[in-house]
Symmetry: C2
Subunit: 120 residues, 2 copies
Amino acid sequence: MDAAAVIKALGALAQEHRLAAFRLLVQVGEEGLPAGVIGEKLGVVSSSMSFHLAALANAGLVTQRRQSRLIFYSADYTAMNSLMGYLTENCCGGIACIDNVSCCPAQTGAAGSDAEKDVA
Amino acid sequence: MDAAAVIKALGALAQEHRLAAFRLLVQVGEEGLPAGVIGEKLGVVSSSMSFHLAALANAGLVTQRRQSRLIFYSADYTAMNSLMGYLTENCCGGIACIDNVSCCPAQTGAAGSDAEKDVA
DNA sequence: TCCATAATTCGATAAACGTGGAAATATGGA
DNA sequence: TCCATATTTCCACGTTTATCGAATTATGGA
């Protein structure tokens, strides 16, 4: 993950509704939620929500998949992992004191525990 | 660290020159660097640099101290620690798979594991 | 085909951001 | 006191953001 991607990701999370949406998606796990449900839970009108979800997707933090009439958004744990990796390496002294920083969905044993080091 | 502070911190880091400045300050350690040196290293004119450093300070990510005519800026590792803690807890599934996320200057075994859960 | 639902795109608007030159504010030395 | 240096503050200026209503684009059912 290079600096430009990191800035994009940080910028995507640096907004009330987007941070809330991302947190929500992290909580619900792999399956994700339809755009409408996210907007409803957050009290954001659909066009605004769409704008924010597009920003998160553009930053690579969420993925979308259509299921009939609904478009489900899911948190991309790998991207969040990379972001955490970059911050740890570049904005935290980097050395020693960090044992293991890994970002994975709840308990789903998915994508986790090995801290895939694709950092810049 | 509450959501508002997190958004402020993320927003502060989500900018090319500010991210570069913060990384630089993390590298040099506790002592920090004078505003002028930072601007020079980054190729940013003083008024702009001042603007960005103020943003980082306002977000609590850096501290400033005057030393004669120079104003030294230093990375605030505790703040970065809190930010990492929030992201780990709220944007990473939170549970298990994270062993230890700590942000400290070089080897200084600084604080960690506080993660104050004042989430919304 | 026609209609309803889900979501996005478009348009306008107000606010915030990033930039750099110029002026103002410390601080220290001659 | 006067001057030089370091930094910040002020002031435009143009760009990007966030918002929300309205129009548009999928999708599926009757």
